[in-house]
C-alpha cells in the first residue's frame, strides 16, 4: 500500500524587540525569575495592554519577505484558557484578522527541484511564562519573565509531504527571520519552535486523513523525528484496522516517540472574542514603505548572486547564504583575500564553522575576524604556506589574537620557495667556503652551524631548517 503524507507547520517565532508586546518590561533571556514581569505581564487587576510598535513593524516585515498581504486593520482577540503560566487567563492573539495573510515560500527539495509552500497566515500574539517542574516540595514554580514576549505564529498550508520537506521549510523560515533581523533564531532558548500537523491517506484518496498536532518541537532534528514517528504510527494504526484520533501530542526526545496530550473531546473551547482593551491596528503607508526599503537581500537572491558573482556552485552558495551573518562574513573574507571565493567558502564552512560549533558560538562571536581569515587564505594562495600548514596556523589564530603572518613567523611555518633554489644556495655556500668544509669533514662538527647560519642569512629565514640540514649533509661529503 502506498501512502501520502500531508504536513502543515505552525512556527512560533519570538520577535527580538527590547520590550514585551504589551508592556515596557525587558525581554532579555535568562534573567532571574519574575524580575522582568511587570504589572501588565502579571495581569494585575486594572492593568491594560499597549501595543509595541516594533513588534508590529517586525511582523509586517516578515509579511513583506514572504510576499504576503499585510492586513490594514488587524484585530487582537482573546484566547481564553486557564494555565498557571498564562497570567490573565487569556492569551492575546489574532484570530479573524491576522496582521499577515496569504504568503508563500520556495524551498529546495533533495532531488534538486523546488517547491512553493503557501503561508496561510502569520499573526501576532504574546508568549506565556514558564512552568518549572523541578520539585518545590511537590509544587510547580512559575516564572513569568517570558510572559508577554512578542511572537508571530507562522502557519503554513498543509502542503508538505515528508519530514524532510517540513524541515527544509522550517530551515528556510528560520533563515528568513534571522535575515530580517526580527528573531535571534535561538532554538535552545525557545526563540523559534514549532508544532507539526500530520495526517496520512492512501494514495489517490481525495479526502484528507485525520490529523494530529505534535507540540513544541524546538530543533530541526526533533521536527524530523517526530514527524517520521507520527507518520509510522498513523500508518500502523490504519493498517491494523484502527482509526487515527484527532488529538494534540507531545514529542518525547528521550525515547524518540510522541504521546497523547489531549484528545479533541478534551480540547479547550477557547471562546475567542475581540479584546476590548485593544483597537484595530492600522499600518500607515509610510511605515510600510520604510520597511520595504529596509528589507535586506533575502537568502534565495543572495544564493543566486553568489553563484554569479563569485562562481560558487549551488550547494556552496546555499550553505553559505543560509545565515545572513555567515554570508556577510564570507563576503568580507572574499574582499580582503582578493577574490579567493572558492577558498573562502571552504574555509568559512569548514574550519571556521567547525571551530564555532565546537565552542558553541555564533558567527557573530567568532575568534577570528574576516580580515584575519582573509590574510591566512592569502598566504595559501601566495604559497607562503601549504593548506595543511594553514590549518595549524588557524588553530593558533583561534586561540590568540595574532595575525596569520605573526603565527607563521613565530612558528617558522613558511615554506621554502623552491627546493632547487635552496639547493643552489647550499651549493653556493659550500663552494664559497672550502676551508670550513674541510674543517667539518675532518671532524669539527661545530662548523656545521656556520653553514646553516650562512644559508639562513641568504634566505632571510624563510628556509626550512630541517631541509637545510638535510641538504647540507648531502653536500658536505
Amino acid at each position: 500500500m502506498e501512502w501520502e503524507v500531508v504536513i502543515g507547520l505552525e512556527i512560533h517565532t519570538q520577535l527580538n524587540t527590547k520590550t514585551k508586546i504589551f508592556s515596557a518590561a525587558a525581554t532579555a533571556y535568562g534573567a532571574d525569575p519574575n524580575t522582568q514581569a511587570c504589572a501588565v505581564d502579571l495581569g494585575l487587576p486594572g492593568v491594560l495592554p499597549v501595543l509595541n510598535k516594533e513588534a508590529v513593524a517586525k511582523a509586517a516585515m516578515f509579511g513583506l519577505a514572504v510576499d504576503a498581504t499585510i492586513n490594514d486593520g488587524s484585530v487582537f482577540d482573546r484566547k481564553n484558557y486557564f494555565y498557571p503560566d498564562l497570567p490573565k487567563g487569556y492569551q492575546i492573539s489574532q484570530l479573524a484578522i491576522p496582521i499577515v495573510e496569504h504568503g508563500k515560500l520556495e524551498i529546495a527539495l533533495e532531488d534538486g527541484s523546488t517547491k512553493v509552500v503557501g503561508i496561510t497566515r502569520a499573526h501576532l500574539e504574546e508568549d506565556a511564562g514558564k512552568s518549572l517542574h523541578e520539585d518545590f516540595d511537590g509544587m510547580t514554580g512559575i516564572d513569568l519573565n517570558r510572559a508577554g514576549t512578542p511572537l508571530i505564529e507562522i502557519v503554513s498550508e498543509p502542503e508538505m509531504s515528508s519530514a524532510k520537506e517540513a524541515v527544509a521549510y522550517m530551515k528556510k523560515i528560520h533563515s528568513i527571520v534571522q535575515y530580517l533581523g526580527i528573531c535571534d533564531g535561538n532554538m535552545q532558548e525557545g526563540s523559534f519552535r514549532c508544532d507539526a500537523n500530520v495526517s496520512v491517506r492512501r494514495k489517490g484518496e481525495m479526502e484528507l486523513g485525520t490529523r494530529t498536532e505534535t507540540k513544541n518541537l524546538n530543533s530541526f532534528r526533533f521536527v524530523e523525528r517526530a514527524i517520521n514517528y507520527e507518520i509510522e504510527r498513523q500508518i500502523d494504526v490504519i493498517e491494523s484496522g484502527g482509526r487515527v484520533v484527532q488529538e494534540t501530542r507531545l514529542y518525547d526526545a528521550d525515547d524518540d516517540s510522541t504521546r497523547t496530550m489531549r484528545t479533541k473531546e478534551e480540547a479547550n473551547d477557547y471562546r475567542y472574542f475581540p479584546d476590548p482593551d485593544l483597537l484595530p491596528v492600522k499600518l500607515d503607508a509610510d511605515l510600510l514603505v520604510q520597511l520595504q526599503e529596509q528589507l535586506p537581500e533575502l537568502p534565495d537572491v543572495k544564493q543566486k548572486r553568489f553563484c554569479n558573482q563569485y562562481g560558487l556552485n549551488n550547494d556552496d552558495a546555499e550553505q553559505i547564504s543560509a545565515s545572513r551573518d555567515m554570508a556577510d562574513y564570507f563576503e568580507q573574507v572574499v574582499k580582503y583575500a582578493n577574490g579567493e571565493a572558492k577558498m573562502a567558502v571552504n574555509w568559512v564552512s569548514g574550519e571556521l564553522s567547525g571551530a564555532l560549533n565546537q565552542n558553541n558560538l555564533e558567527i557573530g562571536q567568532t575568534q577570528v575576524s574576516a580580515e584575519r581569515l582573509a590574510q591566512l587564505i592569502s598566504r595559501i594562495s601566495d604559497n607562503t604556506i601549504s593548506g595543511k600548514i594553514a590549518k595549524e596556523v588557524f588553530q593558533a589564530m583561534w586561540s590568540s589574537d595574532k595575525t596569520a603572518d605573526q603565527v607563521i613567523e613565530e612558528k617558522g611555518l613558511q615554506q621554502i620557495l623552491d627546493i632547487g633554489e635552496l639547493e643552489a644556495i647550499v651549493d653556493k655556500v659550500v663552494g664559497e667556503n672550502p676551508k670550513q668544509a674541510e674543517q667539518y669533514l675532518s671532524g669539527k662538527d661545530k662548523v656545521f652551524g656556520f653553514f646553516v647560519g650562512k644559508v639562513m642569512q641568504i634566505t632571510k629565514g624563510k628556509a626550512n631548517p630541517a631541509q637545510v640540514n638535510e641538504l647540507l649533509k648531502s653536500k658536505l661529503v
Binding site: A24, C38, L44, V50, P84, G141, L278
Partner: protein, 95 residues
C-alpha cells in the same frame, strides 16, 4: 434557550467554577431565564449590520520599544499566595 444540567457542568468547567450538585438546578434555571431574556435580541433585524466592538471608532496607538519598567518582584510577590526563590508556586502541574 433552556439549558440542561450537562450544559451547566460544561460551562462551569470552562469558567473554572465549582458548582455543587445541589446548586446545579438553581443555576440551570437562572441561566436559562437570563438566556431566554436576552433572546429578545432576536426581534431585531441585524442582517448586514456591522458588529460594534468599541464605542469609539479609533485605531490602536503604538508604543515606542523602550524599556521603562523596573524590577518590582519583591513588591509584587509580597501579595502572592505562595512563592519560593522568586517563583510563584502552584500545585504540581502534570502535562
Amino acid at each position: 434557550m433552556a439549558l440542561s444540567t450537562e450544559d451547566i457542568r460544561d460551562i462551569a468547567k470552562l469558567a473554572k467554577l465549582q458548582i455543587n450538585e445541589d446548586e446545579l438546578d438553581r443555576y440551570k434555571q437562572e441561566l436559562s431565564r437570563i438566556l431566554e431574556f436576552v433572546e429578545q435580541m432576536n426581534q431585531a433585524d441585524v442582517e448586514n449590520i456591522e458588529p460594534m466592538a468599541h464605542p469609539q471608532d479609533m485605531i490602536q496607538p503604538l508604543r515606542v520599544d523602550e524599556i521603562t519598567e523596573t524590577n518590582l518582584r519583591e513588591k509584587f510577590q509580597c501579595i502572592a499566595p505562595a512563592t519560593q526563590d522568586g517563583l510563584y508556586l502552584v500545585p504540581k502541574v502534570i502535562e
